[in-house]
Amino acid sequence: MAVEAKEKQGTGFFAKLKARLNRGKTWLTGDLLGLGSRPLDEATVEELETRLLTADVGVDATQWLLDEMRKANRRTPGAPASELLRQTALALMQTVEAPLVISAAHKPFVILAIGVNGTGKTTTVGKLAHRLKASGASVMLAAADTFRAAAVEQLQEWGRRAGVPVIAQAPGADPAAVVHDALVAARARNIDVVLADTAGRLHTAAGLMDELEKVKRVIARFDATAPHETLLVLDGSQGQNALAQALRFNERLKVTGLVITKLDGTAKGGILLAIARQLRLPIRYVAVGESAEDLDVFRAEEFVRALVGDGAG
C-alpha cells in the first residue's frame, strides 16, 4: 500500500482517501451542498434537510442543525447556506474532537475495544496496534473474543503483522480470564499498552453486556484506574441504530471514546453528528479500508469538510 506514514498526521487523510476512492459526487466530499452561495431561504432549508437525512444525520439532529443555522443566519443575514452549515457542524464536532492520549503514568495503559458484531473491532485493534507500535510504544493484544470462530487467529495475524505479542486462550474461554492473563503478562514484560479485543455483541443482549461488565471489573481489580480507555467501535455505514448502540454501551460500560469505521464507502457517517449532540463522547479515530495504515485521528475540521464540502465554494 503506497501510503506515506508521514502524511497521516496532517489533514490529508480524507483528501488522500478522496484521491484513492473518489467516485466523483458519490463520495463523502461530494459537496453535500452544491448550494454554492445560496442564502438560507426555505427552499435551501428543504434541500439541506434532505441532504442531511441522506447522510444519516437523523431527524432530530437535522432539525437541530437547521435551527442553529437559522439562528446564525439571523445574526449574520445573507451568509451563504453552505458556510452556515459548515460553521454549525464544525462547532458541534469540535466539542468531541479529543485525540486519545496514552498516559505514561499508567503502565500498562489498558484499552478495551467493544461494539456490536461486524463493526470492525478486530481490524481496528490490529490497526491501532500497528499505529501505537510505530509511535514507539510496546504493545500487547488480548484476544478476548473467544466466541466468534477464528477471531483469535484473525487477531494473531494482525499481531504478527504489527510485530506485537497476542495473549489468547482456547475458543470458548472466559474473556475476563484472557484479559487478566494479558494484564499479568504485560506487567511482567513491562509493556506500555494492552489492547483487548472483545466479541461483538448487540447492545440489547443483556447477558452479553453483563459479560463485558465482568471483563471491566476484572481489569479494574488488576488496576483500579483501568481500563484507561473504553473504546466503542461504530460502523460508519450504519444508520440511526448507531446512536442506540452508543447510548446503551455508554450506560452499561461508560464509554470514553469512539472509533468510526468504514467511512470509505459512499456512507457519510452523519450519525456522528447525532451522537456528538446527544452524548458528547470524544471521537478518537476514523478508520477506512483494510490495511494497517487506514486509521487516523479524528479531526473535526476534516470530517466536516468531507461532509459538507469546502465551504462557500
Binding site: G118, Q154, Q238, G239
Partner: protein, 457 residues
C-alpha cells in the same frame, strides 16, 4: 360519559355526512409523521418519500371508520401497504444443477460468513448435503472462521492451498460435482460497492460458478447508503434475493424496505441471533410494524375495526338524522360498542402522546364496569319500557333495579342521562343547522376524536 357518548354519535353522523374521509388536509400531519418514522428507521430518503406519497394518493377519499381519525386510519393503510411491498413472492431456495451454488455477497461486516454457516445448517436439515467454501483471501483468518463453523456443524469445507479466489471457486465447484453434494455455498470477501476491482472479482466468480442463488447479505442496522450498495451489487451481479442479518437487535430495519423497493428482490431469510440455528423465514407483518414503529396504532385500528358494528352505528346515525327519538335500545347498543372496544383506557393506552395522568383521568371517568351496569339495567326493562321510557314510574324503577341488582338511584340516573341525550339531539335537529353545530362542538372540544397523531421520541 355523556359527553363521550354524544361525541361518538356526532362522529357517526359526521361519517355519514361524508366527513370521515381521508383528504389531503386531514392526513397532512400524519403523512409527515410517517415519513419521519420511516427515516428514523433508516429507510432511504427518496424511498420513504415515494412510498408515503404513493400510499397517500391511493388512500385519498377512502372512508374512515368512526372512532378513528383519518390519520390513524392512514397509518393502518400505510402498514398494510408495507406488508404488501415487503412480502412479494419469496420462493424457497432451489438448486439448479448439481450442485446448486449459493453465492453470498455484501459489504464488510454484514455477516456473510456467519450466515454461510447458518445457511449450511438450514439446508442440511432440509436434506441436502452441503459443501462450504470461502474465497475471502483478504481478511485475516476469514477462511479459518468458516472452516471452524463447518467443523462444528459437521458440514464439508473445501480446503485448498490456492490464494486465488477464482481458482478456489472453480476447484470447489469441481469438488462438489464429484462429491455429489446438493449445495455449494460460496462465501465471498466483504467488498465496497465502489471498489471497482473487487466488484469485477465478484462478477468473475459469479461467471465461473453460475449460482442458482446470489444472495445479498445486508446488516439490518445499515444506514442511508445501503440503497446505493444494494443497487450497485444488483447491477454488477444478477442477485436473486436478500438476507437480512442481526435482526435480534433494536434496529428498526428500514433497509428492508429500501432494498426491496430499489432491487425488487425478495427478502429470503433473516438472521435472528448469534447461534447457528438463528436463521428464519422473513415475516413481512412483523417487519412492517417494526419499521413503522407504530405497532400500537395499527393494533388500535384493528381493534376498533373489529369491535365496531358498522351497520348498527349507521342505523342509529340515520335515525338521528331523520329527527327520530333515540330509544333505550339504541342507547344500550351504543354502550355495548363502547364496552366492546375494551374500555377507553385501553384504547387511549395505545395512542402515542397520551400522558399517564390523562389516561388515569379518562379511565376514571369512563369505566367499562359502569357501562355494563347500565346495560344490565336496560336488560331488566320490558321492550315497551325501552321504547317508551316515560312509562317507567316508581314501582317499575324498583322492579328494574331489583332485576339488575342495583340501587334505584342508578336506574334514575340512567333515565336522566338518556333524557338529556334525547333533548340535545332534538335541539340539534330542530335548529336544522346540525352541520354548524357539529362544527361548533368539534371546535369546542366536544369531539371525541383522539389528539392528532405526533411521532414519539
Amino acid at each position: 360519559m355523556f359527553d363521550q357518548l354524544t361525541a361518538r354519535l356526532t362522529e357517526a353522523i359526521q361519517r355519514v355526512t361524508g366527513k370521515g374521509r381521508i383528504t389531503e388536509d386531514n392526513v397532512r400531519d400524519t403523512v409527515r409523521t410517517i415519513r419521519m418514522a420511516l427515516l428514523e428507521a433508516d429507510v432511504a430518503v427518496p424511498v420513504a418519500k415515494a412510498f408515503v406519497d404513493r400510499v397517500r394518493d391511493r388512500a385519498l377519499g377512502e372512508e374512515v371508520v368512526r372512532s378513528l381519525n383519518p390519520g390513524q386510519a392512514f397509518v393502518k393503510i400505510v402498514h398494510d401497504e408495507l406488508v404488501t411491498v415487503l412480502g412479494g413472492e419469496a420462493s424457497p431456495l432451489a438448486p439448479r444443477g448439481q450442485p446448486g451454488v449459493i453465492m453470498l455477497v455484501g459489504l464488510q461486516g454484514a455477516g456473510k460468513t456467519t450466515t454461510a454457516g447458518k445457511l449450511a445448517r438450514h439446508l442440511t436439515e432440509r436434506g441436502g448435503a452441503v459443501l462450504l467454501v470461502s474465497t475471502d483471501v483478504y481478511r485475516p483468518a476469514a477462511r479459518e472462521q468458516l472452516a471452524t463453523l463447518a467443523a462444528d456443524l459437521g458440514v464439508g469445507f473445501f480446503k485448498t492451498d490456492s490464494n486465488d479466489p477464482a481458482t478456489i471457486a472453480t476447484e470447489a465447484l469441481a469438488s462438489a460435482q464429484r462429491g455429489g453434494q446438493r449445495w455449494l455455498i460460496l462465501d465471498t470477501a466483504g467488498r465496497l460497492h465502489v471498489d471497482t476491482e473487487m466488484m469485477a472479482e465478484a462478477r468473475e466468480l459469479h461467471r465461473l460458478v453460475e449460482p442458482s442463488e446470489t444472495l445479498f447479505v445486508v446488516d439490518s442496522m445499515a444506514g442511508q447508503d445501503a440503497v446505493n450498495s444494494a443497487r450497485a451489487f444488483h447491477e454488477a451481479l444478477p442477485l436473486t434475493g436478500v438476507i437480512l442479518t442481526k435482526t435480534d437487535g433494536d434496529a428498526r430495519g428500514g433497509v428492508a424496505l429500501s432494498v426491496r423497493e430499489v432491487t425488487g428482490l425478495p427478502i429470503k431469510l433473516v438472521g435472528t441471533g448469534e447461534k447457528v440455528d438463528a436463521l428464519e423465514a422473513f415475516v413481512p407483518e412483523r417487519f412492517a410494524s417494526r419499521i413503522l414503529g407504530m405497532g400500537d396504532v395499527v393494533g388500535l385500528v384493528e381493534q376498533v375495526q373489529q369491535s365496531v358494528n358498522r351497520e348498527e352505528m349507521e342505523r342509529v346515525a340515520g335515525k338521528l338524522k331523520e329527527g327520530k327519538r333515540l330509544s333505550l335500545e339504541d342507547y344500550r347498543e351504543q354502550l355495548r360498542q363502547l364496552v366492546n372496544m375494551g374500555g377507553i383506557g385501553q384504547l387511549l393506552d395505545k395512542l402515542p402522546g397520551v400522558k399517564p395522568e390523562q389516561l388515569a383521568a379518562a379511565s376514571a371517568k369512563i369505566d367499562p364496569k359502569q357501562f355494563r351496569r347500565q346495560i344490565g339495567i336496560i336488560d331488566s326493562m320490558t321492550p315497551a319500557e325501552r321504547r317508551q321510557p316515560s312509562l317507567i314510574d316508581g314501582s317499575r324503577k324498583r322492579r328494574i333495579a331489583a332485576g339488575a341488582g342495583l340501587p334505584v338511584q342508578e336506574v334514575s340516573r340512567l333515565l336522566k342521562q338518556h333524557e338529556q341525550l334525547t333533548k340535545t339531539m332534538k335541539q340539534l335537529t330542530k335548529r336544522g343547522g346540525m352541520q354548524r353545530l357539529l362544527g361548533a362542538m368539534r371546535g369546542g372540544g366536544g369531539g371525541g376524536g383522539p389528539p392528532p397523531f405526533r411521532g414519539r421520541r
